[in-house]
Symmetry: D2
Subunit: 424 residues, 4 copies
């Protein structure tokens, strides 16, 4: 299903009067509103190919309908999102779920939808049919060099697919670890993993980055071999300048201060990418901003502070991706809500009066520090985000328009009710 | 595969001298050693039918070989465990994974292995092929009365299967809940669930119990409709005298004091059953005693204190079951380790000098209270547990004998390498 | 220090134009704006007398200056807050920190400031100079009946002070529990505590309520004898119709779903009161809304849903109190921020489109449920809250006016730099 | 109060027969029992001077009697512990709580008791009377260079005291951090702290080590400026070869895998010291081994594996100290229980069959890995620990003898009932 520009314009036209009223009010309190809008328009969040189908847990999965049956249909879905919100202009592929049989065709298709290829994702946490050796006891950490070699080769293959598509980064998430005390020699597991990563690193093209993602637990329940930011940073530093840490919001122990981690990784020049989602208990992979929107704002506030301090470009110098699982919502609706929450948090962070904050910090005026942050957070920035969409030719209210267009019903008609997209 | 008594006796013979040396030493410090041994011999832990295959996570599953392909083979596996350790004399079935086509045949088969049928388990957390209505948004809590009715009828059917097999209890674990704020009206979800449970309760045979299991999170990640012991107790009290709370060790928020919960539920006369496993992060479903063996001991200590205070029979007045997932170990080995850990904790709890503890508590002599508990916990009770096995005709060292017999290799020969048992 | 009405009006005058612009915009989207404003004006949050001084941790305390030196000065401080924000019209006293030597004088003084006396608080978690028996090993749970008796008598004395002042409720927070396994017999501790509470309950005047507050941990680090809502509800049910559970936001295990607890307690007719604060790790006692403002909104949303379902009056049928510790902020500024955060969350909860939410819930339209909640939460309601203040004769921007008036500087001049208020 | 050697010998004589019976049994299964005993005799745990009095929480403190009133009496108390258990041969001082007025006298006194001076501890988490600038908003992180300078000078002064006493290490625990979002610029706080630490580092004598201790939360409740091992390692690496990370068991987020942290820090050559205690919720500072004894064993298992791999001396190459708070027990009894728990865990770790473990790890035989660890853990090693004490001239059962001697009663007679030792 395609949405043409004209229908969006028509839709926006009907919303315009109310939008203008709201936007005028919102804009009246923003200093450099044009600058803010431009930043909002530039900011793009990658959609992972595996987020387009209904996710599940180990207990079960309740598929919806009209899920994409091929890489082409996944690109179509992301294109549709991007058309609606103007902020989803990239897709992140997973190998082997998304092996492109004809890379140039796929690349051209993506370009038609205004999409680029974000970080490539490898998979050594599952065994694939026909795979020579099993990852049951890990991949890059494995005591058997042959298994490690297989994992390395898989990652190199993923890089090759990425090169063909025009991607320029590889995200390595390892489920390696142990479920029982004694199962692993932690040091040797680290050393094996480092050696494996070094072999992959050696195969990176000149302009590529490698993101080393960490996770505190699951699917291993005693230790993870890349378990926290400290471990990820150790690997990244030992690997070299192309290696970075990737932060996934759901991959921490309870109560972790993620915004401080972000700040320190930026200080070290080693923050590379970001996976957005939300959670209450563990890696719950819920819609971004659905549980802790203030934390999301605080993280964005640190991201901007740290990036600005290093002269980094918000839109291009970090990899931004959603990584969630849509168990009880329509995946496309969920993604629209997630991107909206990200844009809101980003807009709020842009509104923080940095000078006033720095001054209050300098005076240990803690109450004032809080006031400055909350002044930005409590502002209703939705009209600003909507205006950025309007200017980008996207829909003023993407989710509402999605429903008016009966997109899901159309997709089910096209693709059937019982399709199941590849993914978890 | 069957293990005959004679081969066990032969095996034990070879171990006997060393065992006697250890047992004599251990027994010399125990007051009523015969009483302790009898209690250890009486204590039986049910094995759930779904624990006989390799489990997995949402990220993947790495099957082993020789898994049971039918209910008959599951009974055979539990029979084998029971033959080895003399403490696994019950099996807990799950409907629809274990629908017996011929109940009397199955009952007779179990009896041959010395097994009885423990609590029956229903499943409304997954959709089955051909099922009329979906449980995607809950079962007994569902806003649609027809879905609730379907869930109730399923549970009544499970009771009927249980009656045919000679079981006398039903465990209801509901995954009902919500993954997002606003999704549920908590009160109505509670009321719907209560109404559904009441309908199932009305169908319980005279001598049956109903266990209402609670869980803090997963697969729902915002709220669970039977989420903690407080909620479970509310349901149980409103349902009536046949309804009890069931405690699963992995179903709590971080740092919960489970032993206190156990004590209070016994005080209220509402503790009905227990699911053993171990965990570090969430419902990790690891081998019992592999992460927090001291907590297990403390729980047993409260169980005995509370049961003794009410004159309850340790072996028969609560439902004891293992509920774990064997992702990286041979399931049968894992179960042997779990039962061993349970027996050790039970034996240690039996050794607690209750009089001395009560006296120290009465004097607020906290250091002494700790000494009394640790005196029991630090004692090496393995020879006592082994002696109980010896007297019951089971193997002195079950896991070692399991390996000597090459049980798994034999099962693979019999059943094949690629079998996958029903379960998660 | 006193602030007269006239100076507030003058201050508001200078803010009025900008306020009107913002208020008009905000009001334009609210259906029953007058009804909302009236509710905001009616809503009053009690200030605890111990929150007027600088708090600390076991590691240290860094006092500010100008802290109240007497009960009279505490009342003066709360009066000042109430004058500024029109929403702090009650004070909650703690015995023995606030024993009134002349109750009728104190009562009259409070009335002058427009304050009533909220719940009285007893203290059996510390030993006072000259106290006969020690609470080192608990108070109402104590193995020694004489200690329990002393605790009961203290509570009865607190009730008597309260009667003299016109209060009508008693909050019992017990630090009772244990720091080591074995220290307590959980059941006997519960029974002793129940017996003690029953004796206090028997002394309650006809129109009084008793609030049984629970806490998961601290100052006891193994078990708490009123440790969670389930335990508190057990006590409250056994005590009788005047006994209720009191929820303090910081008294839960990590990740607890407090909004669900609130909903279920309302369902049971047993929610009595609320202590506001915020926290990231434990009972951190931070400014309300400073860490998890969305959770605060969700809690308010459940409070309103549940109270409305029972026909309860928002303002009067539950006890609302702040309970925080001001370690690094001016206590009065902190309290102004806290009340503001509460009013914002309340206002947002009032804006929730209940009909739309109920309809979306009925259709399992999870994305829509979220939209309905977030529509209210993302609205900038500060102008509504300010308008309610304006109409109540309070300051449009209380914190800003507090600073302009140099209140703290004046208090230091009056009271000195080295005063230390009673409290933790 | 002093205990003479002769009375210990007499006491041991009465215990000897039963001890020998137990020891012979225990020794019979240990390969190199003499080697194990020697290691147990060599292992010494430092006692912090502030642990000799009753601790408390922010809610209150319930002092016992006979607490040491001076540094001399603290040394006497540690001497007494060391005399009883032969494993407490060091004391760790805190400045300004323990400023020695006459260092050579203090040094001689300690030597008389067989004690050496372990790591010196500085204090910038409290304001001292007469202190020029306040640490309310941090010390080494402070925005004001003058405050940082004061903190640096204090630490240098602590080093000087340590040099005079023969200590050779400095532990820096900073409570620096923030309690509210926005309060700190995380990066600048890190940079200020690093700069301050560098100035202290520059003042370290040639043979000294600096331990940078981390803590997740408390007394700051939003962020800590040395908050986890990753941050501590960053500082230590930037400081230089004399700087190390120090691990305190209670300073982690819930569910952290401390044993893995220990292993990785040893791999990096940056583990410097260890603070023992136990906890269920936060920095509860309970008796070592009272809550999670298996975790303690697993940590020791990693310590030995990692130290052996680097050829480190167990007894001397890491700093071992208890850091607990004795709120409801006699502090000396608590310390005796803590040291006993440490020695038991150390002995169990020494019994781990390293070769078998490595072989099982190499084969991914997870069940066997667990068996190897549990074989050691389930062994009753108390007779080995007692034998080591016997050979060192200490008491076979220190706590029992402590009570028989009525040590506390004697200390109260000597020092009075109302003494309060310096500390928290």
């Amino acid at each position: 299903m395609q949405i043409n520009k004209h229908s969006i314009q028509e839709y926006n036209q009907g919303q315009l009067q109310e939008h203008s009223r709201r936007y005028d009010f919102a804009a009246s309190s923003v200093k450099d509103v044009e600058g803010v809008l431009q930043k909002l328009m530039d900011f793009q969040v990658a959609i992972p190919s595996w987020a387009l189908g209904t996710g599940g847990t180990r207990f079960g999965r309740f598929p919806g309908g009209g899920e994409p049956r091929s890489l082409e249909e996944k690109i179509e879905d992301v294109g549709l999102l991007h058309r609606l919100n103007g902020a989803s202009g990239a897709i992140s592929l997973h190998i082997p779920w998304d092996i492109p049989t004809n890379a140039s065709h796929i690349k051209a298709l993506a370009a038609q939808h205004g999409l680029r290829f974000d970080a490539m994702n490898s998979n050594t946490f599952q065994d694939q049919p026909g795979q020579g050796l099993s990852y049951k006891f890990g991949s890059m950490q494995h005591v058997d060099k042959a298994v490690r070699r297989q994992a390395v080769e898989h990652n190199i293959e993923v890089i090759e697919h990425g090169v063909a598509l025009g991607s320029d980064s590889l995200t390595v998430w390892l489920s390696d670890g142990s479920s029982f005390p004694g199962q692993l020699n932690f040091r040797k597991a680290f050393e094996n993993t480092l050696e494996s990563l070094q072999e992959v690193y050696a195969a990176l093209p000149e302009n590529w980055k490698m993101f080393v993602e960490y996770k505190a637990f699951e699917p291993n329940f005693y230790s993870m071999t890349v378990g926290d930011w400290g471990q990820s940073l150790l690997y990244a530093n030992k690997l070299g300048p192309k290696a970075y840490t990737l932060v996934d919001l759901g991959h921490h122990l309870p109560n972790a201060n993620i915004e401080q981690i972000v700040s320190l990784l930026l200080m070290e020049g080693k923050l590379g990418g970001f996976h957005f989602n939300d959670s209450k208990y563990g890696d719950d992979d819920l819609t971004v901003g659905s549980i802790k929107p203030y934390q999301l704002f605080l993280i964005f506030s640190e991201l901007l502070e740290g990036m600005d301090a290093r002269g980094m470009n918000h839109a291009t110098d970090l990899g931004w991706m959603i990584d969630a699982s849509h168990n009880v919502k329509d995946p496309l609706e969920d993604l629209l809500q997630s991107v909206e929450a990200i844009m809101i948090a980003y807009a709020q962070a842009l509104l923080v009066d940095r000078k006033a904050l720095a001054a209050a910090q300098q005076e240990n005026d803690v109450a004032r520090c809080q006031e400055v942050l909350q002044e930005a957070y409590r502002t209703d920035v939705r009209p600003l985000v909507a205006e950025a969409r309007l200017r980008a030719g996207a829909a003023l209210r993407p989710l509402q328009f999605f429903r008016e267009l009966k997109v899901r019903e159309n997709l089910i008609k096209e693709r059937g009710r019982k399709t199941v997209a590849t993914g978890l």
